[in-house]
Structure formats: C-alpha cells, structure tokens
Symmetry: D2
Subunit: 150 residues, 4 copies
C-alpha cells in the first residue's frame, strides 16, 4: 500500500477510535486492516440491560457491531468518504456472559461506488453472542468522521 | 384491566426505566400502555458518533429502538416473563438532526406463547429517522428485568 | 398528475404485471397508486412448500412482497428508473391458510435520488401472514422492467 | 451416525427435494450433510423478473435461499421436527447473470430446542449474488415436510 493510503488508514483508525459513543461505552479498536475491523469492549456495570442478570444491553452489542462493520467498510476506501449505515440486522444467538469482555470482528463483503456490504460477529472466547449484516452508503462529498487535530 | 395486571404493568414500567444502559444514555420512558411503548432521548454530546457533524451514533438509536420494541412486547404480557431480542433490523432513513431530542415509539404486532413480533420508529418531530422490526423470545422461567427493591 | 406521469404510471403498472415470475406464480396486480402497490395471489397447488400441510412456500410470499414493495417504490418515480432490491427482511407471523388467496400491500416510506425504503404485508382477510421491510436502489440509466410492445 | 439418523437424513433430503415449489422452479438438491445444504437452480426463462434484462426475479433467489437455510437446519435435527422460517434477511450483492445457473449453499450456525439460526449464499461460479440470514422455529409435534409414499 502507498504512503497516502497508509496515512488515510491511520487517520481513519484514529478518528474511529475517538467517537464519543465508543469512548462512552469504553470500547477500543484492536485491529484495522484492509477489509476487516476488530474491537474489544470490556465488561462494565453501566452497560447492563437487565440488573437481575447482569447481562449487557443488546443495544450496546448492536452499536459495537454497527461500528465494527463501518470500520471494515472504511478500511476498503481508497479516498476519504463518509460512511453511513443504511440498514443493519442483528441476530442474538446467546446472552453475553456477565462479567466477560466482548470481542467484535467485521469484514467488508463487497464495496461499490455508493454501497457497501459488511458482516460481523460478537464473541466471548469461542462463543458467538451475536452476528450482524448491514449495508452502508458512501458519500464522497460529506464531512468525515475524523478526530479534530490535537 | 385487573389490579394484578396493573401492578405488573407498573412494575415492568418501573423496571424498564431503570436499566443501567437506558440511564447511561439519558433516556426516559414517556408512555407504556397495552401494546405500545414510548421513550424520549434528549440530545447529549456523549451520544455522538461523528464529531465532525454532531450526529448521534446509530447504535444509540438501535439500542433505544430495541428497548422500545421490548417494552411494547412486555406491555402485552399477562404474567411475568423474560423478554430477549432474537433479532432486529434497523433502517436508517435520515441522519438524526444534531442538537434535537429523539422520540421512540413501538408497537407489538403479534404475541404468541414463545415468540413476539414488534415494530418501532425513531422520530424528531414529524421526521422519521429510523424504523425497526424485531422478533423476541419469551421465557417464562427466567429472572425478570425488574429493579431491585428500593 | 400530468398526462406524462399518467402514461408512465400506466406503462409501469403494465410492465410489472407482465414479469414472467409473477405470471408463473399466477399473481395479479390489484392496485397501483402513488406510494402504494397491491397484488393478489390465488391459491394454487404448484405454490405449496409442504405437501403434508398444503401451506404455500415462504419463498413465494417473499417474492410477492419483494415485488409489491418494488411497485410501491416505482409508483413514486417521476421519471423512468430501474428499481433493484438491495435488501429485504421478511417476518413470517403465521402460516398461510391452505386453500385461501393471499393479498399483498406495500407502501413507499421514503424515496431519495438513489435509495428508497418500502414496507409491505401479506394478508388473508384480516389475518396478517407476513410483513416485509426493504431498501431499493434506483438506477437512472439502466434498462427498464417494461413489457415489450404487443 | 446411526442407521436411524441416516434414514431420517435420507427421508428429509428426499422430502425437501420434492416440494412442489422447488419442482416448479426447476431446482434440485446437490448436497445435504450435517449442518449444510446445497442446491442448484438452472437458468430458465420462466424465472425472469425483468424481461428487458433477462435477470432472474429476486423472489426466486430468496425462495431458494430460504429453502437452503431450512435444509441446513433440518440436517442438524436428531429427531423429526417441522421447520418454519420465522424471519429472513436477504442482501442482493449483484444481479444474477442472465443465462447462468445459480448455486445455493447454507450452513446452520446454531440450533437450540426451539430456535435455529442459519446463513446462506447464492453464487454463480465465484461471484456471490446474494447472502441470507434467517431464524427458524422448530415444532416437535407438527406434520413433517415429507413426501408421500410412492
């Protein structure tokens, strides 16, 4: 990959890791390579959906999967573009184990000029908690999800 | 409706309004009647997905829609049961307007012994931001999403 | 509506009613107005998915819902464009009653320059058999689904 | 696998290959092993959705993916049960090439007592035309999709 592409990939990785929502959840980016995105979310009491069980709220998992899929799409871009989720389907295969961290991995299945497809999963160890499939719109003239200069 | 059902509806409403995730987002329940759930989410900087635009993260909207649909299902129960999202589809029709609150409304379309279907939408005024469709599993012997006694 | 729009709407209605797949299923268009499409599918043994019950195959219902949603989108166009389904979610709420006809109705929820959202349902009398939500891509320079001249 | 399981697998394979809908489309089962189902659909003019392009109707692809996913679920059963699609999402990644056959492959991702998850794809050679994700309900006391005795 060229230096320009490296710069862009690095800028994107940094911008995506700094969205307020991701910081509020406490998640972090653990991988960002061509066609793939990986994130980790440490277990935390403020993410719980059901106090009786300590299980993390489904919306948290959805939000992370949405972002992981968007990252996978972003990693395929050769020039800056804004990525918006058009639609997303989540299948919850089993409740997340309380007290355990979650790993998220997504891959970009296809990217065109305007539309991209991605798919991801949330895991705890080998156990798949949820899978996602989504379509994304690419806008080539919109403000980017870049972090402000330091 | 009988007093028992009233008690259950009230307990459910209270329990659902107290999930840590909902409190962390800053959302509140604005309606809970038979077959329907309504919530409101005030705009807040910690919910932003893209700092360049101030638009709220899609995962926040998904999380709220998930919960609103679950509430609509819960409002149809005649006896306590645990409600888990089996799968959910979200369509993002337009970006949420930065700085504006979001309203969520969901309805239960069908409820059986084990499975329920619900559908919801996120709005800002008359403008629909996103719609959701989901299926939910009902477990009649699992811990409930009830708040602890005060 | 202008005469030109009327002509286009009529051409579209006629074209859509003549897709080989719709003819093979035995379906017919029963309504086509701005923002809505309606179709009817008479019960027929060649549509059965499970010979033991006589229930129509889910794929038939999906195919009809796909087409009804596409019709609803097509009815909103002001100039010819090709409509392709980007993705579709179907929820099967109850098995179709064997021996009974099915009615399909769809509405276009939002149409932009390139993307449209639609939602539909399959019914037998008042009983909802399935619901669908889909996104569609509009191409303004592609061959149209028009019937050949007679 | 025991002889009983072999008998059941074989009975299921035969039953599924004989649904009237599959015969009407002209599809055939090409593989049926534990956790996986494979089918092939030869190109045929009566499956066309758009006469101007000769492209197969999306509903045909959806129907085949639905059945392939159901087969993958069925292949995991250790005792007869009826499999009904609860919901299904299809993403159409590119139009099917006119004149070319379609191959379908599905895998069962998880199977519980009442609910199963499956995922599949439609291909032409190496080119992925569509992907699907679905949830299925298992009923252990319902009529089976078995073919009548010859």
């Amino acid at each position: 990959m060229s230096e320009v592409a490296d710069f862009w990939l690095e800028a994107m990785r940094r911008g995506m890791g700094q969205t307020p929502f991701l910081r509020a959840l406490g998640g972090e980016i653990t991988g960002f390579e061509r066609g793939r995105g990986r994130m980790r979310l440490p277990y935390s009491p403020h993410l719980v959906g059901n106090p009786a069980t300590g299980v993390i709220h489904g919306g948290v998992i959805t939000g992370m999967l949405d972002q992981a899929c968007g990252m996978a799409v972003g990693s395929m871009l050769r020039a800056p573009a804004r990525i918006a989720t058009l639609d997303l389907r989540i299948d919850y295969m089993r409740p997340a184990e309380p007290g355990c961290d979650l790993d998220f991995e997504a891959e970009c299945l296809k990217i065109g000029h305007d539309i991209a497809f991605a798919r991801g999963r949330a895991q705890q160890g080998e156990s798949i908690v949820a899978i996602a499939t989504g379509t994304f719109i690419l806008s080539h003239d919109a403000p980017l999800p870049m972090a402000a200069a330091p």
